[in-house]
């Protein structure tokens, strides 16, 4: 599957990493791709490390294993850098996107000598400013879309508005905040 992009998400239970992976599958489906978005659960509790995955391909995706050599890694919770080998198998010509307020140089010592591109986004700042609460998944989703260039930014925002309208049908008041978080994250990720 040479035309298949593989993405691995690291987060903690309750942060929405799984939801972000499913939303990414959702919006990429709208571009006509074959998609996969799925979680890998450890113990079922808030705060436990969880992994989620995406495959995005021009061809039907048949493989049902986890992803061991991703093109991209998204770290939703910075504290995982201490305990999880987040760059394991990550391709050198790929990239890692980390939710942090720290600079790249400080982070690099936690990345086991990873030679590929490192992107950072302060998802907490974005989330607090746009939503007034800490939900890192929307900013992280926007960041990975920006970094991968998987889809046109405006198209992404349009699709996400439709997705949120469906997802938050019972609490539409959070839609605008999440849309702002997406837009701000796309500008801030670097």
């Amino acid at each position: 599957m040479s035309n298949c992009t593989e993405i691995r998400w690291h987060g903690r239970g309750g942060q929405g990493a799984k939801t972000a992976a499913l939303l990414l599958a959702d919006v990429m489906f709208q571009t006509g791709k074959y998609v996969q978005g799925f979680p890998e659960y450890g113990p079922e509790r808030m705060g436990a490390p969880i992994t989620a995955y995406n495959r995005i391909s021009d061809d039907k995706v048949r493989v049902h294993s986890n992803i061991y050599e991703p093109e991209y890694v998204v770290v939703v919770d910075e504290s995982l850098l201490e305990t999880v080998d987040v760059t394991k198998g990550l391709k050198k010509d790929g990239a890692i996107v980390i939710n942090t307020e720290k600079d790249k140089e400080t982070l690099k010592k936690h990345l086991n000598g990873y030679e590929g591109d490192v992107y950072t986004i302060d998802a907490k700042k974005v989330s607090m400013k746009c939503l007034g609460k800490y939900f890192p998944n929307s900013p992280m989703l926007a960041s990975i879309v920006k970094v991968t260039g998987l889809m046109d930014e405006q198209q992404f925002l349009n699709e996400m508005r439709a997705s949120y309208a469906h997802k938050f049908a019972s609490k539409p008041e959070v839609i605008e905040g999440n849309m702002k978080a997406l837009e701000m994250a796309m500008k801030e990720v670097r």
Partner: protein, 393 residues
């Protein structure tokens, strides 16, 4: 008009059920099948179906309520996983032996212990002798398609047996993937109205369901049940043919993938078959004649058809996502080897237990299985025929 969508396996089954609009759905939640009744409950609340949804206090009760509803003449189903399936063991046999058409949506998960919420086939494989027809799926599409076909098979007058439709817990139940759905009306017309011949709420023909059977009659009842399972073979194929004409997606007892000229074959059930197809594509490019038999129907067991499909292979690995603790291998291994013996096949065969408790299966893992088959074919020595894959030493 087919509808392109992206859904998890659980959503796919729930939407099939919305389109079918069954009469009665009793349910008790258990991971990873919980989402099926959860989605369905929202359809009920929003008035999209007119099903009687009954929240019960246990799986023993959910199956019992489905049995009661079916006996009364309703189209009924429930859903479960793992320990929930184990807890409905007694009524499973009642559903089958009383010849009650109903459907059980199983999302396969390991049984305790150690406690584990992830996929293997121990739950439904443990129920293989309950008298249920069993259909398995590789992905969300097949789970949906099997659900649409299930009531037709179950309610057929020559069958009248309950059907389990099974998919892999989390791996397909919680994975969002592309899927093509039928229109609501297409499903409604395909499944049709349920018109039971005998049922409790028919005052014109009083009948008893589940009475005591003395020794003089018990064995005749069981023989008739066995005959129904035999009849299910033709019915499964008839329904699949009609479904294929409607959807363009064709089903049989199993799917053969590059099996026609294969020297080395894998026989397996469920989501890992998709992974194995990628392995086979890689091997075929290298000139290795690898093939796959992915079993869809485990009950009734299509022994002759499987043996016929494997007649030209040199070596075969039968992969079980459950162990029988027989010290011989898993249930699929035992049945496939038995089928091969009766057909006098000479191929070397090994049985590999894999993927227990959600242990991952990669394209590379399956490459090693085919490499082992090539070694076995070359030396003519199968070695230990009962093996485990992916266990740390």
């Amino acid at each position: 008009m087919a509808k392109r969508e992206r859904l998890s396996g659980n959503e796919a089954v729930a939407i099939a059920l919305k389109q079918i609009n069954p009469d009665v759905f009793p349910a008790f939640p258990i991971t990873p099948s919980t989402e099926i009744p959860q989605y369905f409950a929202s359809f009920v609340a929003n008035g999209l179906v007119d099903t009687e949804f009954i929240p019960v206090e246990s799986e023993h009760s959910s199956m019992s309520a489905a049995i009661g509803a079916s006996a009364a003449g309703a189209r009924a189903l429930t859903a479960t996983s793992s320990a929930g399936l184990a807890y409905m063991w007694e009524p499973l046999y009642l559903a089958a032996s009383n010849r009650l058409p109903l459907v059980l949506a199983v999302v396969n998960r390991a049984l305790s212990g150690p406690i584990n919420i992830n996929c293997d086939h121990s739950d439904s494989m443990g129920a293989r002798d309950s008298g249920f027809i069993q259909l398995y799926a590789e992905n969300n599409q097949e789970a949906y398609d099997n659900m649409v076909q299930a009531f037709r098979i179950s309610e057929h007058k020559d069958v009248q047996l309950p059907v389990m439709i099974c998919q892999d817990g989390f791996i397909t139940s919680h994975a969002v993937e592309n899927i093509t759905l039928l229109e609501d009306k297409e499903v409604k017309d395909f499944v049709g109205e349920y018109e039971p011949e005998n049922y409790l709420l028919n005052p014109a023909c009083p009948t008893a369901v589940g009475p005591y059977s003395v020794t003089d009659y018990y064995m005749e009842a069981k023989r008739a049940q066995a005959e129904a399972m035999k009849n299910a073979k033709d019915v499964i194929l008839e329904v699949a043919k009609e479904f294929g004409d409607l959807s363009g997606r064709n089903y049989g007892f199993f799917e053969s993938y590059h099996l026609e000229d294969a020297e080395y074959a894998v026989v397996m059930i469920g989501s890992a078959a998709g992974t194995t197809k990628d392995t086979i594509d890689q091997l075929r490019k290298q000139g290795v004649k690898a093939g796959l038999l992915k079993l869809r129907v485990f009950r009734p067991f299509p022994a002759e058809e499987i043996a016929e499909a494997l007649k030209n292979v040199k070596a075969v690995a039968i992969m079980d996502r459950a162990d029988s603790f027989s010290n011989q291998g898993g249930p699929l291994g035992a049945e496939v080897m038995s089928a091969m013996y009766r057909k006098h096949l000479q191929a070397e065969a090994i049985n590999i237990v894999y993927g227990l408790g959600g242990r991952d299966v990669t394209v590379e893992d399956m490459g090693e299985v085919f490499a082992e088959l090539a070694r076995i074919a070359k030396t003519g020595e199968a070695g230990d025929t009962y093996r485990f894959m992916g266990v740390r030493g």
